[in-house]
């Protein structure tokens, strides 16, 4: 089997890149795992988010803004192509605060970032009463919020399904249930799977999430990524209760209230725990007291794919040119950028985005 690009990892990141390459007429094979694989694409929170990102690296804030700005167009194209809409809402999002001190500290950081971004950081601070006008169900413990107008949320599972559908529709080959065991480059790339399948490709994209930690070094990458568990809750479907999303809770397009998320360093354990559930429930009720009566319908644990500084890694292998590492923990926010902008970087066109700050060289000094 031969392709211009072999993409290792068929989650939202891999499929977004595949989609972008297919649009440029490339022949693409996506190699995907099995039903039980760790899949951040199935467990993520679904925000298309800008605020709080890149506080120490304005380029990351900018990259997130770029992606958020072209998301709607991307979602619309997927919807038109597949006949199944990808729900997206971009009318701002909140960072809710339970104390004046944390609110003030955050505002100070945002001001610094705003200056670095030449003022393109449209946010406003809402006191409790102003917030209550926007969110009638907000609780008395919430002192205020930062409303950032570039934030929003999507249905990440509809995005995954639409990508899986459209990549096939555009002629991409997707191989499911595969485990890549080795990649070599005698002339072109040879990708070896545990079931004996061998795929040949001129270029390779490693977008295997946590799987890149093991495969990365074989391709000459450092791939210093680790799992971080996030537990997430979702309630029964409810009438409209929350207008805009926050990191604490959002009302999904189907009606459930999704509540997140823990940040736990527990290795590859993706279980749910009672203390995790209880802590998240208590925080959500503090923000929206009406949630106390809501039934929990589902909960899950999912593993974030984190680099040491939390930023994405975009790196071409120095040892095996033509192999690219693409990994991030915001695959939903960055999906549009990965689909529409990243292929220019891999193809080295004039429109290639400058991704130097996301290279692995930043991990050299430790």
């Amino acid at each position: 089997m031969e392709a211009d690009y072999a993409i290792i990892g068929g989650g939202v990141v891999g499929l977004s890149v595949a989609w972008g390459l297919l649009k440029r007429g490339k022949r693409v094979i996506v190699i995907d795992g099995d039903d039980g694989a760790f899949r951040a694409s199935r467990g993520n929170f679904g925000l298309v988010w800008v605020q709080s990102k890149g506080m120490n690296q304005p380029r990351y804030a900018r990259w997130s803004q770029q992606s958020a700005a072209i998301w709607a167009e991307f979602a619309e194209e997927l919807g038109d192509n597949t006949g199944h809409a990808v729900p997206l809402e971009q009318k701002g999002g909140y960072d809710l605060h339970f104390s004046e001190e944390t609110l003030q500290e955050t505002v100070e950081k945002y001001e610094t970032l705003k200056a670095q971004l030449d003022g393109d950081y449209p946010y406003e601070v809402l006191g409790h009463n102003a917030l209550r006008k926007e969110e009638p169900h907000i609780g008395p413990k919430v002192v205020g919020a930062i409303l950032h107008h570039q934030d929003g949320h999507a249905n990440p599972l509809r995005l995954l399904t639409a990508l899986a559908d459209d990549v096939r529709r555009m002629g991409g080959t997707v191989l499911n249930g595969k485990t890549v065991t080795d990649v070599t480059k005698p002339d072109g790339f040879h990708i070896q799977c545990s079931d004996g399948t061998v795929i040949g490709a001129a270029k390779v994209v490693l977008s295997a999430g946590l799987g890149a930690a093991e495969l990365g070094p074989k391709l000459g990458f450092k791939a210093p990524i680790r799992p971080q568990r996030g537990q997430v809750l979702i309630t029964e479907k409810l009438p409209k209760l929350i207008n805009r999303p926050s990191l604490i809770a959002r009302q999904v397009d189907e009606g459930g209230i999704q509540i997140g998320a823990t940040n736990e360093e527990v290795g590859l354990n993706d279980r749910v725990t009672q203390p995790g559930l209880s802590g998240l429930a208590a925080e959500a009720i503090a923000a929206y007291p009406a949630l106390a009566r809501a039934q929990l319908v589902r909960s899950w644990g999912a593993l974030r794919v984190l680099s040491p500084d939390g930023l994405p890694i975009y790196q071409e292998s120095p040892q095996m040119p033509g192999a690219f590492l693409v990994t991030c923990h915001s695959g939903i926010t960055l999906a549009a950028a990965h689909a529409r902008l990243l292929p220019d970087w891999m193809e080295r066109t004039d429109a290639a985005p400058d991704l130097e700050v996301f290279s692995e060289t930043r991990f050299a000094i430790s």
Binding site: D34, T161, R271, S278, A281, L296, S299, G301
Partner: protein, 464 residues
């Protein structure tokens, strides 16, 4: 918090017998059950109902009082009305009772969560007026309510039992539409040797059938192409039998084609399961004692594989004896001596199963329904949707769950799990074992965010 030697979940025959046995050996035991009174589904509400409706429900039902009486006398802590929504390693069991969340811990767990009726997704099965035969029987046990103008559809001993109970209650069903064929019975006869060891079951079966025949309830055997007609409500059952199309107008349709283990709790603890071809379902992998691959975790009763009430009772006691030995209350010799007669009679009571499984197999068209039939009622996902997701690369039910929401609703996939696995296995030309099952997560049963939050105990502030 008091540490139990054993936490038993479910107060049916397996759970009651296990708790009683374990307590008799001096173990600290807590039994959690959802119902207000002990009995499980099979002996549901037996203490209250036996005197009122014992003549309709029969001797096998009233026998349940032996177990409820034993449990009461044993001194087991029995928490009624307790909904267990999470079980974690260690073991930590979280539940809600009287609107309050609580938690207990124990070194051993016995899951005795019983069986579920195998869903029977035939065209029209989601119409009002259609329910499982078991749900119909619960109405009879608990409230004495009986459906009039009802047709029983499907196969298996429970179908006959309910029909016989309806006859005795004076409202016989309009008809029995049975899906098993004469060929099934012929295949089953190869296991008649085993069946003869279980002869009391055969005698009961013959008696039930005699009751049904005496009441002149029409029986249609080998029915195919079953569908339920109706606009806002079930109005008729249609089917073919021996090449002839039939239609029976009715108000109620009771569907049943066997029961399957309720594996949700075991799955939530990652107990390994295997596919049982005879019973067409997943069963947990267990040792002789009911021990699982998870240290300290045991399973007894129909949740371990369908065996019926007597097998469940013995399996519960067997597991309790093993756990008593594990905590040092019995020596290995005492354990083996006490378990030996129970192991023998469990084997003889199980001997009828291969015969029953073959004589009354599941209705094949309901295992992999036609495209238009809904398989996930909670999220209204059809069989055709599942096949389409297979075409998009879904090899297992956790991918289809992400793609189209089957299994995401309030039932936690209890009712669509096996159907989704079967459809994917067929579409991908894989075995059910390769296809796998839903990853089960809390909540196992409904819980509100308020109840969850009550258990939030922040780390004490260092300054205080």
């Amino acid at each position: 918090m008091q540490q139990n030697d054993l936490i038993v979940i479910g107060a049916g025959p397996a759970g009651m017998a296990a708790a009683t046995e374990a307590t008799s050996h001096g173990l600290t035991v807590t039994l959690l059950d959802e119902q207000p009174r002990a009995g499980g589904q099979i002996y549901r509400d037996v203490d209250r109902v036996a005197d009122k409706r014992g003549d309709i429900l029969g001797k096998d039902f009233t026998y349940g009082r032996t177990l409820t009486g034993g449990l009461r006398a044993s001194g087991t802590t029995h928490l009624t009305g307790a909904m267990v929504w999470s079980i974690e390693d260690g073991f930590r069991v979280s539940f809600t009772k009287d609107g309050r969340a609580a938690q207990i811990t124990g070194s051993h767990i016995l899951l005795a969560t019983g069986a579920l009726e195998r869903p029977m997704p035939v065209p029209g099965w989601t119409l009002p007026g259609v329910m499982t035969a078991g749900a119909g029987q619960i109405l009879l046990k608990q409230s004495g309510v009986l459906a009039r103008r009802a047709v029983l559809v499907g196969s298996g001993p429970l179908l006959y039992l309910i029909a016989a109970q309806m006859v005795r209650a004076g409202t016989p069903p309009m008809a029995l539409v049975e899906t098993q064929t004469r060929g099934d019975m012929a295949r089953a006869m190869r296991d008649i040797g085993g069946a003869m060891r279980g002869w009391p079951y055969l005698v009961k079966g013959v008696r039930m059938l005699a009751t049904i025949i005496r009441a002149r309830v029409p029986r249609y055997v080998g029915a195919t192409d079953i569908a339920i007609e109706g606009r806002a409500q079930a109005e008729a059952v249609t089917f073919n039998v021996a090449g002839r199309a039939k239609r029976i107008a009715c108000d109620t349709v009771l569907l049943h084609h066997g029961v399957v283990p309720n594996t949700q709790a075991a799955r939530s603890l990652d107990v390994p399961h295997r596919w049982d071809d005879g019973q067409q379902c997943f069963v947990p992998e267990l040792d002789t004692w009911g021990g699982t691959g998870v240290d300290g975790l045991f399973i007894a009763g129909d949740g371990a594989g369908i065996g019926g009430a007597k097998v469940a009772e013995m399996a519960g006691r067997i597991a309790a004896i093993r756990i008593a030995e594990a905590v040092g209350r019995l020596t290995v010799q005492q354990r083996d001596a006490r378990a030996a007669p129970l192991l023998r009679s469990r084997a003889s009571d199980n001997a009828i199963r291969p015969f029953l499984d073959k004589a009354y197999p599941a209705y094949q068209p309901a295992l992999t329904p036609e495209d238009a039939t809904i398989v996930c009622r909670c999220e209204e996902v059809t069989a055709g949707d599942i096949r389409r997701y297979a075409g998009l690369g879904c090899l297992g039910p956790n991918q289809t769950k992400a793609f189209g929401r089957p299994g995401m609703g309030p039932c936690q996939g209890r009712y669509c799990g096996l159907t989704v696995t079967a459809l994917l296995a067929e579409a991908n030309a894989q075995t059910p074992e390769q296809t796998g099952y839903y990853r089960i997560r809390p909540p196992l049963k409904p819980v509100t965010l308020g109840e969850l939050a009550m258990m939030d105990t922040p780390e004490p502030d260092a300054a205080e």
